[in-house]
Subunit: 766 residues, 2 copies
């Protein structure tokens, strides 16, 4: 890609988002808004038990309620195993995907698991009908903690696990050098276990889908999915219908993603399709916020062990990392997440001897799946806490220690793609300046009841998920007859500005005016295959496909113009929608509008197809926090958060900053307040926005997003992914700041008032 | 294309139409059914005068009516001239399109012309508001007959006509040989003038459109158009918005076309867009049947002069043809139609000396535009009447005379594309057998009051409109990850079975199972540019693009499979969704499903793009009619109609037969009953289905559609167009049968009871 280009027309400009007007006026249409003639409304009966066998189920009374048009349960829906996550779609060639779900099953495995669903002419009638479904359960023993669930006496949640009791799929193992030898050669070894909570995405729009099944059996699904094409693949499997008979689309907007709907939107799509097939009418499923909490994938909680060996000069020498994550009741992305945890955590620093061992474990809790960061925040919390512990032991400034050990271009690492550029040092330096690192240690007066501290943590992330798993894009770029441009790419816009930034790339590559480029997106009928919006990949990887398609179309235009201008195509270029001789006189110029219409009159449209070899590239980020801890109450208040990010090249700086700021907010919640808690019956205790403590606008500190541009050689115009990095090292930066303020090392987050209060009282580790 | 293929898997099979279930159950969605949140309903104020200047218009009272959200008129809508027909899109490189319409103008040119339109929360309120619009008209002189409208004293309907008063665009002139010398060398010359009526398409669904304009200015229009991409071009011009910001789609069905919505659906789209822009809400326009009659393009009425010179052995030697058609108030397709009249009529027979001169003339009547046959039925009525007159004069059997003179492959003709195959002789022979030609002349007993006659007429037509005008297609064929296939082509399905037959072509070309192929269509967002469904071109020309795309995708599949099977791609073929060594052992086989998923896991989808050099090919047809004329009442009853058609290759025979049968019905109406009549104030006298005598099921005689397959070398698998030919020679076949029964030569149609009664009474020409 043109990573060496420096004179940009539209790349690098914070043009207004294309969805801005519609969203601020409330006119943007989301799945929740879709209404079709004859459409029915669905409600889902969910298990009250964490683990049970359905001995008997009688749907007849519900079916007889006037207004009820269909009742779906395991007895009248396909008995084909699938996986609501896109695992099946994304799997790497040598791995078997874990397919452990039915649309409905006769065993329920967590409180909230789907037992049956009703489609009726109103939500009220559907809700009423749920009460008329008679179910006889046989309770089974349940287990909630992953370490418990691996024990011999634990119940089987799924059988057939090959790697150990309740372990889905494969254990991830990474090995570099000889870690035992590494520790033997180290001057200092620090080892610690960390516990990380279950976080929830709490995206604005709850899971939703509307399904329509034609008489011919063609299925159309409007939904909140982040991945229309993979979702089509999943539905194809679940219902045994060819892909080409299924259309999945966003309508067109999606109220946030954060990973919660990579693949299906929990079970919204399969339930809507199953009911639409039974009722022979369109069916809409919209999860309540409570359903979204209890029955929609969460971030993985679990345990991370980190053991770091260093030389006395601070050189990192050996790292042994282990992760055991709580998969919840179904696999979802639980095979992939431990892999990302390991690979990302291992690739921040140059460490010659490295080892990782990680996996998930089924428990009788809400399934854990993809969430922004995808295992990385869990691992980095552990690593970056240990790094600070090393710095203290060696009495080295934490910044210096990090700068000494950070990965450089060309360093050996465990990742299967190159590091083409790194702006990590610049991130650390700029972030330190912003937070006022030199004030650290001089913040508190003796005897203060509110003490301040400054902390840092760094991290990396992917810009795509290839080659960890299948992950590619295609795109069309067609030149219309007036020289305007239509980009068609299957990625949705889940709120990240994709429909603005991908046209920016196309306009730049083509050399046409930005206002002449529009985009078709989020629809399997309009676009070639695309793996969707996730893994920080949309701008970076789908953008690469769009640029490739634009390049293809441009070449066709230049070749056509070459004939018109009687000059060789190599001598031509296009800028501001005008083709001209690159290094020549003013005479040979022709507008794209003229070229396109000239070609039209001769039966030709310029159609570019973008097919890519998927790239990947590390992002780099340094987060800094200044906190104030109330020694009397335990309250931690973040005063300022700084996220300095190597974004490669900021295609739209305002959007990059927005992504980072949003990430910092989510990282703040992860550090301080967010956690799904279960009682001893497996029930979530805080399944509403009012009881799950998401940071609000009021909780936000001063935030600064700093963009560092390293010009990645693989990304479109030098760009890297920026969707997830914003929260990767936020929690350890805050925890390190709390340590700096209080001298207490927390190995478990969130740092709730209660946890900090007791730790302060006991004056020891939490 | 694979015209020499004979061993077909799916081509040639009458598979059930994909739209059948939805249509018979009433579940198919048409534009009329589209309903959007907040949608408004529009009503149009139409001129009561045939020609007037709007001196003053006051919309304020209408705007103040509660529920009214917008009133559009010439004062608040774009003053950009355009043409509702796709003329602008279709124009040939050297011709300037005639742009003579505004969305609204301050001059009205026919009774029904648009004065203003209201968008309101209900149809009732919109209707009420129309009455509150105060308009002061200054009446202008009007003219209704094209011959009158050319005279010096006639009023100017449009100024700036370069070829003569009220003549839009260019006069069409065709010259071959020396026609004067030809007549001098002829033994017999017959000359006659014919008058043809204004026929109406009376398609099932009236003109309709729903427009939505986003805050960002992006326009989406669901409509009844036969040509989504060209309609996008027209709206782009009319509203000054780039193509890429406009999406035009069918929703997805269209209740018939017959040419009435090539381009816009009358003014439904522009009115809906104009109102949606003003009201900032979606607006729906559905024409009433009366509006569809008075304000939506008709077939051209007018005059045709035919002068045929023959040798005494019956060899045709010279033909001079002239056409003057009634354009009505706006140009629409009035430049193209006289051209098709001439070119088609001149290319049925080998005639060394030929000449044609034709044009349209503006009058103050409803605009005439495209209708099935597009000028050809008008010309053929004249020619085939004259041919029968020659046969009688020379006492040669009309069949023999025709067989002697019909065009053969390789004959010189005026058309700019080759005749690759002709089954005309076979059509004549098979049709004659079916009608019982040998009974002709032996049908009536002396003194019978009901007399029978048998007639024949033949004709030809196009399979596309290139190179008469711009006319091309593109298509995508993508192989999904399970080996199913998605065809994307911008043509709509206007009821002709396109969504069944194009997938048949793709399945055949690829070698995959038909049930694995689905089609995306009728949507500018989903498809590359395509000129649409008209000119008998959809299966033939869009089909060529689909086959090209399939070929491209197949080649990619075979090359990929070649690597997997370790064999060269040339040795591989695909059938029944399986790739195998064409002439080898059973061992090297692999299913498309396996190949597609294997490629998917390696980040590859097979994407075929079909771009075509547009072909064209003549169709050939012979129609036969047996009639019974009641000598006392003048009623003509058709006993049997036979249409024998060279369809090249019947891709789906049942659909071909359906097209021909429908054409015969329309030809029957053209011959016997259908005619829009105006009073002396320019008002249509029969603007409803109950007064416009469309043949009903009860009026239909025994009908036989005979398919002759000549295997056209240019068409997909040998196919030609079959959309229009079904009515081209029907009227002269019936008129010739009436002559055979009564001895009266009618030079004007329709042969209404009244016209025949008076002719019988006067015992002379009508």
């Amino acid at each position: 890609m043109s990573a060496d280009k420096i004179d940009f027309d539209i790349v690098g400009k914070s043009v207004r988002r294309r969805d801005a007007f519609e969203k601020v006026t409330g006119e943007a249409v989301f799945s929740t808004d879709v209404k079709l003639p004859g459409m029915l409304y669905a409600k889902v009966l969910r298990s009250p038990y964490p683990h049970a066998k359905i001995k008997k189920i009688d749907i007849s009374k519900a079916e007889q309620l006037p207004g009820v048009k269909a009742v779906a349960y395991y007895g009248n829906t396909p008995r084909i195993k699938f996986n609501t996550s896109a695992t099946m779609t994304f799997t790497v060639p040598h791995l078997e995907p874990v397919l452990d779900q039915y649309v409905f099953d006769d065993i329920v495995r967590y409180v909230g698991d789907e037992v049956a669903a009703v489609a009726a002419v109103s939500e009220e009638i559907a809700q009423q009908a749920l009460k008329l479904i008679e179910v006889e359960y046989e309770e089974l023993p349940a287990v909630y903690d992953p370490l418990e669930a691996m024990k011999e006496e634990a119940p089987h949640i799924h059988t057939g696990c090959k790697e150990g009791k309740n372990i889905p799929g494969d254990i991830v193992k990474i090995d570099m050098g000889d870690v035992e030898q590494g520790f033997a050669e180290s001057d200092l070894v620090i080892e610690e276990m960390f516990k990380v909570p279950v976080q929830k995405q709490v995206q604005m729009e709850t899971q939703a889908a509307v399904a329509q099944v034609s008489r011919e059996g063609d299925i159309t699904v409007w939904s909140t999915t982040q991945t229309p094409h993979p979702t089509r693949m999943i539905l194809s499997r679940a219902f045994g219908v060819p892909h080409s008979k299924i259309r999945v689309l966003n309508p067109p907007y999606v109220g946030g993603g954060f990973g919660v709907r990579i693949g299906c939107s929990a079970k919204a799509e399969p339930i809507a399709v199953a009911l639409a097939m039974l009722a022979k009418r369109p069916v809409k499923v919209v999860y309540t916020r409570e359903e979204d909490f209890i029955a929609s994938d969460t971030r993985h909680g679990g345990y991370v062990w980190a053991k770091l060996g260093v030389k006395k000069d601070g050189t990192f020498h050996a790292l042994d990392l282990k992760g055991v994550l709580n998969a919840g009741a179904y696999c979802s992305f639980s095979c992939e997440t431990p892999g990302v945890l390991g690979a990302m955590t291992l690739s921040v620093y140059r460490i010659p001897h490295q080892k990782y061992f990680g996996h998930s474990v089924y428990t009788n809790t809400t399934p854990a799946g993809a969430m922004r960061g995808f295992g990385n925040p869990q691992g980095i919390f552990a690593l970056e806490s240990v790094v600070d512990m090393v710095a203290e032991k060696l009495n080295i400034d934490p910044l210096e220690l990090r700068l000494k050990n950070i990965m450089q271009v060309g360093d050996p690492w465990c990742l299967p793609y190159p590091c083409g550029a790194t702006g990590m040092a610049e991130c650390i330096e700029k972030g330190a300046k912003s937070i006022g690192w030199d004030r650290r240690g001089k913040l508190n007066k003796p005897g203060a009841t509110k003490v301040r501290g400054i902390g840092v943590a760094i991290g990396s992330h992917v810009s795509n998920s290839w080659p960890f798993c299948v992950d590619y894009d295609n795109a069309y770029v067609t030149i219309q007859q007036d020289g305007s441009v239509q980009v068609a790419c299957g990625v949705p816009d889940i709120g990240t500005g994709t429909t603005t930034t991908l046209p920016q790339l196309a306009a730049e590559e083509l050399g046409v005016r930005f206002d002449m480029v529009n985009m078709t997106f989020g629809d399997t009928a309009s676009t070639p295959f695309d793996i969707g919006s996730h893994a920080s990949r949309t701008l970076y990887a789908a953008g690469t496909a769009v640029v490739a398609a634009a390049k293809d179309a441009k070449q066709q235009v230049l070749e056509y113009a070459a004939d018109l201008l009687d000059v060789s195509a190599e001598k031509l270029d296009m800028k501001d929608s005008e083709v001209f001789v690159a290094q020549g006189s003013d005479e040979k110029r022709i507008s794209l509008k003229e070229i396109a219409y000239h070609a039209h009159l001769r039966n030709k449209q310029f159609i570019g197809v973008g097919r890519i070899v998927p790239p990947n590239s590390p992002t780099w980020e340094a987060h800094f926090a200044e906190v104030e801890v109330d020694l009397q109450t335990g309250q931690v208040k973040v005063i300022k958060l700084v996220g300095a990010h190597d974004v490669g090249k900021a295609i739209n700086p305002a959007i990059c900053e927005g992504q980072i700021e949003g990430g910092l907010a989510m990282g703040l919640g992860y550090a301080l307040s967010e956690e799904i808690r279960y009682n001893d019956k497996g029930k979530q205790q805080n399944k509403s926005i009012s009881t799950y403590f998401l940071p609000t606008a009021e909780d936000m500190p001063e935030v600064e997003a700093i963009l560092v541009e390293s010009n990645d050689p693989s990304g479109p115009f030098g760009a890297k992914g920026v969707g997830e990095t914003g929260l990767v090292p936020t929690a350890p930066a805050i925890a390190n700041a709390v340590y700096n303020a209080t001298g207490i090392r927390f190995t478990e987050i969130p740092l709730t008032e209660e946890r900090v209060f007791f730790a302060l009282r006991n004056n020891k580790k939490s």
